[in-house]
Symmetry: C2
Subunit: 103 residues, 2 copies
């Protein structure tokens, strides 16, 4: 178990940073937040967020590679979901940080 964050090895922090970087793009963050509400197809995400299906697909591939999103085929479409609940915690904590910061 990890007691102090300072014990993190360099390559671990690199992986961590990669995760944060993925959430650091507005389009991708919106996609993740949309997925938190429940599984969605590529097309419905694109429509909701006014993004091209191609762009959404690109982003989803990265999110999948980082285990942030998972996918499952449903007919001719792909249903994407958020892989685990920690992502929701991460985002909610950051929302609190931002809203508290607003004086």
């Amino acid at each position: 178990m990890l007691k102090h964050l300072t014990q993190l090895a360099d390559d671990h922090t690199a992986v961590l940073a990669d995760m944060f970087k993925l959430l650091g793009d507005p389009s991708r963050l919106k996609i993740v937040i949309a997925l938190l509400d429940g599984p969605l197809s590529v097309g419905s995400i694109a429509e909701r967020l006014s993004l091209s299906p191609s762009l959404v697909s690109h982003h989803l591939r990265l999110l999948r590679a980082a285990r942030i999103a998972s996918h499952e085929r449903r007919g001719r479409q792909m249903l994407y979901s958020v892989h685990d609940h920690h992502i929701r915690c991460v985002i909610e904590d950051m929302v609190e940080h931002v809203t508290e910061g607003a004086d």
Copy 2:
């Protein structure tokens, strides 16, 4: 109060994304993690992480602007600290996501 993350306006998610983007750089993330252990001067951060003081100063300016870090003068050096506790939560949650993902 915010019930669902999907209620976030576009400009709010943009601010959120900016926060994540800041943690998305390895050097900056290491700086933040180092600061979680307690206040540090620019020079000591640079020494600890083997980064140039100039680079550390650059990053700290961005972290300050995002209210992730705060600073206070102590003699001729500046003591930097993490602004609030949510940042620690965010990072710890992400650590859990990453370590769980490793099968």
